[in-house]
């Protein structure tokens, strides 16, 4: 975990004081609503459908147990006792009081947290692989690089009023779990034949109104130049990105309009001036940052313990299900990463009560060196669990209702807060998620369907990432009524693709039936061992369309 030094702490403290002053001036009528808006959203404060909402940054998804405990305190003391983990790995509190937000920010600062740039037309929270630092397929640990980017982008004086929001995702593993192809900038860290870190830079990906897959701007940027190159790239966007139409203001529109060659040429021309400047990273600076992300001193796990774990897995079917679905491999033999499912019937996806936050913090201390990760699929991860304690952890998670053995299945759907909370939403999304979870709760059927991403967004802004769901559901407004458009064939990861719209939209009650028909087509058409997305890619949209609209 990154630990603040006096510089970081001073900056967040000064930020709290600045926002408290801004809030006072706003309440005194010295700042208009319109002019207060960017100030408050740059501190995570929205004014939503029914109440304000505070979006708290969880930089690259990493949380210490004491931080999660504090988030629980805030949910209990300032809100209605629960919080919502988002697809940007942040936490949203849905019912704070406007005037108490400076106090909430001060509480966050006391545990090295903040809500800086969780909204606004600025560089947002950087996201990464939830298995960073522990996965078997990792070439480069992305976390030190994420923190370097966090610091570079925090209060960047030139990039606080960009044409639109700007999101960066980083991966250092063979399998992309950070969705780098659908970010404004996606970074893949890899090693050259001398073992030096290089960066593949993608730009112009994104979801929202005009979904696009990012283009490669550079394949092999040497690590020293990461920040100067990003600065050049964002400067080109700041100067040339469209500002006349907010729906055409993201960098993807600029990259598309210029073409990637011309975009690259402009970035390179700008970079020529910044390259080798003061922001060039030094080996000492990177090593100092890496020293924050060293492995914990893990207890050695013997072969007997590993064998015992495998035996138990063979004997206990319920435990085996949990391990197969919710437990991920680890670079150290005898250790596993465990995903805590925040998806269960009767609860909004991604929600956690304050008691559960405290309990998960305790489990992290007991089982996983006091650290928790938040995933962009809206789950939590304990990344360092010894196999001889997995069974015990499983039982404890069952008691908390966080051991649903359905990670990666249809039941593990992604869902934005939608019309129940969000002022932007065209339609509710949570009731749709709940109806689907109720309809498809038979665990054997879920397993039979295999890996399946179902993503729901309540509007075009696509916070629920519906474009990259194998099945995507988008809430739309038709003459004041809520309708739902279904798309198929989206995917995240190395082989990202954008879903295609199935046809005319449906009312809310019909959605589970439509999903059922889609699944029937898959089950009927699949070849041996074929996943949903593989079948879709082989047979295309047509058979699904014919069945659903028959």
């Amino acid at each position: 975990m990154y630990r603040y030094d006096t510089h970081d702490q001073t900056l967040v403290n000064e930020r709290v004081a600045q926002f408290r002053d801004q809030m006072n001036r706003y309440l005194a009528g010295r700042i208009s609503d319109e002019e207060f808006l960017p100030l408050r959203v740059q501190n995570g404060l929205y004014v939503q459908r029914y109440a304000p909402m505070l979006r708290i940054a969880i930089p690259y998804g990493m949380l210490a147990s004491y931080q999660l405990r504090k988030l629980g305190d805030l949910a209990r003391d300032y809100d209605r006792g629960y919080g919502h983990f988002t697809t940007r790995t942040n936490l949203q509190l849905n019912w704070p009081k406007l005037e108490t937000v400076p106090d909430m920010l001060a509480e966050l600062a006391s545990v090295q947290m903040h809500a800086i740039q969780t909204s606004g037309n600025d560089i947002r929270n950087t996201s990464t692989d939830q298995f960073a630092g522990i996965s078997e397929d990792e070439e480069v640990d992305p976390r030190p690089w994420c923190e370097l980017i966090r610091q570079w982008s925090t209060f960047h004086p030139e990039f606080t009023y960009l044409p639109r929001k700007f999101k960066i995702a980083v991966t250092g593993a063979a399998e992309d779990r950070a969705a780098i192809q659908v970010h404004d900038v996606g970074l893949r860290l890899w090693r050259d034949d001398k073992g030096e870190v290089r960066v593949k830079v993608l730009a112009g990906g994104g979801l929202g109104r005009t979904p696009m897959i990012g283009e490669v701007v550079r394949d092999d940027l040497p690590w020293q130049h990461l920040l100067t190159y990003l600065e050049a790239l964002v400067r080109v966007y700041n100067q040339f990105g469209r500002r006349d139409n907010k729906f055409k203001a993201r960098i993807k529109i600029l990259v598309k309009a210029l073409g990637v060659e011309e975009f690259r040429r402009r970035v390179d021309a700008e970079w020529a001036h910044l390259k080798d400047g003061p922001q060039t990273l030094t080996r000492e600076a990177v090593e100092a940052m890496q020293s924050h992300f060293i492995d914990p001193e893990r207890r050695a796990i013997g072969e007997e313990a590993i064998a015992q774990f495998e035996r138990l897995r063979g004997e206990n079917r319920a435990f085996a299900r949990f391990v197969t679905n919710n437990v991920h491999g680890h670079k150290v033999p005898g250790y596993k990463a465990v995903t805590l499912s925040l998806k269960r019937k009767g609860h909004s996806p991604g929600d956690l009560t304050w008691e559960q936050m405290h309990q998960v913090a305790d489990l992290a201390d007991e089982f996983s060196y006091g650290e928790i990760r938040v995933t962009h699929e809206q789950n939590l991860v304990l990344a360092d669990v010894a196999v001889d304690r997995l069974e015990e952890l499983w039982h404890r998670l069952e008691e908390l209702g966080l051991a649903n053995p359905t990670v990666g299945t249809l039941a593990d759907l992604i869902c934005c807060p939608g019309g129940d909370y969000c002022a932007l939403a065209n339609a509710k999304s949570i009731p749709v998620a709940q109806a689907i979870q109720e309809r498809f709760e038979d665990i054997d059927y879920l397993y039979d369907l295999g890996p399946l991403d179902l993503n729901i967004s309540g509007c075009m802004n696509a916070c629920g990432h519906h474009h990259v769901g194998h099945i995507g559901i988008l809430g739309v407004d038709k003459k004041g009524e809520e309708w739902y458009q279904i798309s198929l064939g989206g995917a995240q990861g190395n082989d990202s693709s954008l879903g295609k719209i199935l046809g005319p939209s449906f009312d809310r009650e019909s959605v589970p039936d439509v999903i059922d028909k889609v699944l029937q087509v898959y089950v009927g058409e699949r070849a041996e061992g074929e996943t949903f997305i593989e079948t879709y890619r082989r047979i295309g949209l047509k058979p699904f369309k014919e069945r659903v609209y028959a």
């Binding site: 930020r15 600045q18 002019e35 500002r243 100092a288």
Partner: protein, 178 residues
């Protein structure tokens, strides 16, 4: 006609309240004052080049080419317009003028210039702020000191915090070596 009387706008130069002699003329056709120095649209300034009593203002979408920067080097001051406070292009323009083209005269922010932009504007090289008429001067002076340090280098700070940290670490280590 000038769009407003310059003296109505709270004005800060080099971190302090200051008197502003310059009249801002937004209109490309307006008559020039006889005895007051004036800030005029860039194209007009280019046409009338050479007067120490005339300065250009740049629109936020100005493309700052090396040729333009060379011309601007002779300006007594350069103003950069913020048509809306949310238009962030002026920040890049000011940094380029300072850092790339070495302009060391006055760079002033004009237009929709608000208290809460003051800190970042200053970091990017604006040393003069002509705030919107309704802004409170004392709030702006206070806002100039919002933060005591920064992660990134800009016009005000020459090195990023990560380099400063390395120097501090060396310093901390020195007594132990002695």
């Amino acid at each position: 006609m000038p769009d407003q009387n310059a003296t109505q706008r709270p004005f800060i130069r080099d971190g302090k309240p200051a008197e502003d002699r310059w009249l801002l003329i937004r209109d490309a056709e307006a008559e020039l004052p006889a005895s007051t120095p004036a800030i005029v649209p860039l194209a007009r300034w280019q046409a009338l080049e050479g007067s120490a009593e005339l300065a250009p203002w740049l629109a936020s979408d100005t493309e700052l080419t090396p040729e333009l920067a060379e011309q601007l080097a002779a300006a007594p001051l350069i103003a950069i317009d913020f048509p809306r406070f949310t238009d962030g292009r002026g920040y890049s323009l000011a940094r380029l003028l300072r850092e790339r083209y070495g302009f060391d005269g006055e760079i002033r922010a004009i237009g929709d210039v608000l208290v809460d932009q003051a800190f970042f504007l200053t970091r990017c090289g604006f040393n003069a702020l002509s705030l919107r008429e309704d802004q409170w001067l004392e709030d702006a002076l206070h806002a100039l000191n919002a933060f005591s340090r920064a992660y990134q280098p800009a016009v005000d700070v020459s090195e990023p915090l990560f380099r400063q940290r390395m120097r501090e670490a060396v310093k901390r280590a020195e007594p132990a070596l002695a």
